[in-house]
Structures are given as structure tokens and as C-alpha cells.
Symmetry: C2
Subunit: 301 residues, 2 copies
């Protein structure tokens, strides 16, 4: 089974767990159940859980049911964060992955509850799979919680946007970096390895992803990305393009990815993992994005 | 140390965990950190965690650090649910426990994030304390998640309010009952006991609490309860007072609490626990509430 099939199948199983009661459909609020499906099964690149499974495989993946659960839990947290970030109180986004955002499709109350339920489901999935290795499962719960909540997870990252003065390094580390560090560290923990040596790889992939996202937000249209464009400039958010220009940001992105590859800890699947990061690097910085960028900036002048 | 001191001290420690970074205060979004404190340390009866610790004690409480963590986790989930329930998309409540609700004090974005962070912190607290007994800790994570999320937890309970037709039994079981069942079951799990025999006690206390809450909402003023009054009638929510009248609801409440006491499983601390439920019963149905009710209803006629 390839990684994508493995992941989608595990994710679909977990979402069903949140949608179906042993007592039957009449015991479940069906619109909230549908909102959970909308939030998780409407496409998505699944980058974080793919990195997680790739690291687990590179480390031997001796407990595949546990690494599947970790990958699913991480993606559920990511989907929850998108649902809440899209709310009117934050980005007020009508679109996500080319479809109506959850609050547009189901209303604000169900969007808030869908996000809450997905966070909870992430930990439930870890607890269910964890019986094969309770020690590892508890470490997964702890690592995922630390990268999700306060004071250092994605909740903290979003929280910085309500501060009068922002610690930019802490902001980026928490807002985007946290779930990439979770990806590499949970992959290692699932396979029985120590998480610390894997932090740098996750942090660097996170940085690269942030720069790539800044480039896309500045350069692509809503049709091309499936979500509203120009949000950073519209909300006055600090971003790499404003800081170093388009070509500077593209060069910076390549440097970070080089560092990411260099940081991969010694492990059985090291070479394969380096290849995967390289492939992401090419996907994140397509030649035509650079070219497109230059011509649009020129046209705008 | 009495239960209340034990609980408040454990809770305060957990909240600090979410507010302080080893990297220092400048690495933490301070307003979100303050919102976490506001949401958890502004008073509150701590009924659910007190029941949890009482059950753990009745079962021998051989892992007090674990039962403390379970009690804290349960209260954090309860506080998170209050923060989100107060949001404009739900009750739009200005007051909670006689103080401004979190979104009134810190704005809607931080209220959403505070709720999210408290949910995550609950599971982090269980994972941290769980190293002394990983099997039990994982069962606590699972039981807490099931009573919090979808399809049967408090998220599901709130979700029923967005359905065109409501399964009333499932609605009450999930909305109010779930965290009381969590209280008795997590107490038992913390002390190494099976949770199933403890479900009925939690469910009955939850039912009693719901009826008592309906009575308070119908009969007391905002000043007396510290939150907006008459919300059930205002939102057309099904409630015991509308269904069976004030005196009928008071009688029903007493019957439920009698059943709760009868359901307590055989355990070393059975008699003491029965005494505690009896004390709650008296607290929930003060003689003057019944009298007050009758005179107000008479005056309104």
C-alpha cells in the first residue's frame, strides 16, 4: 500500500469513529457529523502526516498501527485549526481547498464545534491505538499536545496575532513550525525513537513551508490556491515577500531546504527521506512560480 | 489537605503549564495566557472534579497524582466548554460566574483559542502524570475524549442545538450527562477500577444537575446565579420546568438523586460517597428555592 492510500484509509476510519454511534444514527447530531466529514475529507495535501509516516518508515516503523494513528491525529489537529482559522473572528474565509469553508457550509456554531470535536478525536485516536505500546502512545499524546496548545503550539501561534507587540521568531515557530516539528517527532516516537534529534528537520521544513506559503499568498490567485489570495498584505501580517522581495524569498526557501536535508539524523531510511524532502522542495518552488512571479511583479510596476 | 485545596492547587499548577514557557515570558502570547487564567481561575463550583476525586478516594486512590491529573483535565474541559458556549454564535453571554465572559474580556479570537488551548491542555496534563501508570493514563485519555467529543460527548450535546429535529434523550445525555459520567468513570479508572459500574451514578447526577439548572434558570435572577437568567425560555430550549412545572421538577430531582445513591457500586468508601451525594442533593434543592419558586409563580399569575 502506498503512503497516500494508507493514510487516507486510516483517516477515513478515524472520522467515521467520530460520526457513528453504536446506539445508531438517531443518537448522533447528523449536521455536526457531516461537518466533520466536510472538514477532513474535502481534499488537502496531507503534507504533515506524510512527513510523519516517512520519518516513521525511515526509523523502521515497527508499530505501523501506532504511526498510522499518529499521522491521523496530526492531520485531524491540522484540519481543526483550518476550520477555526477560517471563522469570521479570524480570516473570515469563504473558501478552503476550493470549497465553502465549514462555517459557510454549516454555520458558525457547527464550525466551532467541528474544530473542537476534531481536536478531541485526535487524542481519542492515539488512545485507541496506544494499547499495543502505552508508553509510546502517552509520549505521542504529550508531544502532540505541546505542539498544538499553549504556550508553544499552533494555538499560541494564532494567539500572537492578538498581541500589541509580536515576538516574530516565537510567532512563526508556533504558528507554522509547530505542526511540522510534531510531524517529524511523532514519526520518530511512533517507531520507538527519541524525538529530540528530529526537531530541527521539522522546524526547517516548517520555515520552508511558511516562506512558500507567503510566496503563494502574494503571487497566486484564489482560483489557483483554492483559498482567498493576498491575505497577508490585507491583514498587514509580517511575511517573507514583504521582507526580502520575491526573488529573495525564493533563494531563502532553497537555502532552508538544503539545511533541512543536512539535518536528517542517521537512520536506516536516511537516503530515501532526503529524496522525499528534495521532492517537496521542488513541489514548493516550481520553476514557473518564480518566472510567473517576476512577470507579474514587472506587470504591476 | 481537603479536597478543595488539593484540587485548586493541582488546577493552578496545570494552568501555569499552559501560561509559561521555559524560553521565558517573551516567547508566550501574554493576552492568551491571561485568557486561560480568566477562564479557569475565576471561581466555579468544581463539582465535576470533586465528584471525580470522591470516587477515586472511595476506590482507594492508590495513584493520587493520576487522580489529581484526571480531576484537573475534566475541569479544564468543562471550563473550555463554558468559554465556547458563551460565544456570540451560541449563548452570546456577557457574564459568567459574575464576571465578564472570556470573549467580553479578551475578544472573540482569544476566546476561541482559549477554549481550544484548554481542551489540549487537558490531554497534556493526563500524558504528563501518566508515566506512573501508562495503561491507566491511556484509558483516562480515551474515556475523557469519548465524553468530550463526537458522537457522544458534550460537543455532540451542543451540536444537537443545530439539528432540525432533536433526539431529546441523546441531547441531555451528551450535553450535561457526559461530563458527570466522565467524573465517576475517570475517578474509578484513576484508582485502577473498571469504569462501567460507575456509569449509572454519573448519569443520574448529570440528570439531577440538568433539572436543578433548569429550575435555577427559570427561577433565579442574573445577580443570584452570576449568569444571564431565563435563557431556556428565551431560546425555546426544552427544559424540565416547561415540561412538569416547578413543583414537579423539584420532586423529579429528589427521585433522581435517590436513584443515584442506590446505584453506587460496592467499594471501600461507599458510605462516605453516599453522604456526599446527599449533601449535593440538599445544595441543589434548597428549601428556600422551592418556597421562592412557589411565591414567584403565584406573584406572576
Amino acid at each position: 500500500m502506498d503512503l497516500s492510500t494508507r493514510l487516507e484509509s486510516a483517516l477515513a476510519g478515524a472520522v467515521l469513529l467520530g460520526q457513528r454511534s453504536p446506539a445508531g444514527a438517531e443518537a448522533v447530531p447528523q449536521r455536526l457529523a457531516a461537518a466533520l466529514g466536510h472538514a477532513t475529507m474535502s481534499g488537502g495535501a496531507r503534507i504533515r502526516p506524510t512527513i510523519l509516516l516517512s520519518v516513521a518508515l525511515a526509523c523502521g516503523d515497527d508499530r505501523p498501527a501506532l504511526s498510522d494513528a499518529a499521522a491521523v491525529a496530526l492531520e485531524l489537529i491540522h484540519c481543526a485549526s483550518l476550520v477555526h482559522d477560517d471563522l469570521p473572528a479570524f480570516d473570515n474565509a469563504d473558501l478552503r481547498r476550493g470549497k465553502p469553508s465549514v462555517h459557510r457550509a454549516y454555520g458558525e456554531p457547527l464550525a466551532i464545534l467541528a474544530g473542537d470535536s476534531l481536536i478531541v478525536l485526535a487524542f481519542e485516536v492515539l488512545a485507541r491505538a496506544g494499547t499495543v505500546a502505552p508508553d509510546r502512545a502517552l509520549r505521542l499524546v504529550l508531544a502532540l499536545a505541546q505542539r498544538t496548545g499553549m504556550p508553544g503550539g499552533i494555538c499560541a501561534g494564532q494567539g500572537w496575532e492578538s498581541e500589541p507587540t509580536v515576538n516574530l521568531a516565537a510567532y512563526h515557530r508556533a504558528k507554522t513550525g509547530a505542526l511540522f516539528v510534531a510531524a517529524t517527532q511523532l514519526g520518530a516516537i511512533s517507531a520507538g525513537q527519541e524525538p529530540e534529534p528530529w526537531e530541527e528537520l521539522g522546524a526547517r521544513i516548517g520555515e520552508a513551508f511558511q516562506v512558500a506559503d507567503d510566496l503563494k499568498d502574494a503571487l497566486l490567485t484564489a482560483e489557483e490556491t483554492g483559498k482567498p489570495a493576498g491575505q497577508d498584505a490585507a491583514h498587514g501580517r509580517p511575511n517573507a515577500v514583504a521582507l526580502m522581495g520575491v526573488q529573495g524569498a525564493v533563494r531563502h526557501l532553497k537555502d532552508i531546504l538544503g539545511g533541512a536535508i543536512a539535518s536528517i539524523p542517521s537512520c536506516p531510511g536516511e537516503a530515501r527521506l532526503a529524496g522525499l524532502v528534495r521532492a517537496y522542495a521542488e513541489k514548493m518552488t516550481p520553476v514557473d512560480l518564480g518566472a510567473q512571479a517576476t512577470s507579474r511583479v514587472a506587470a504591476a510596476k
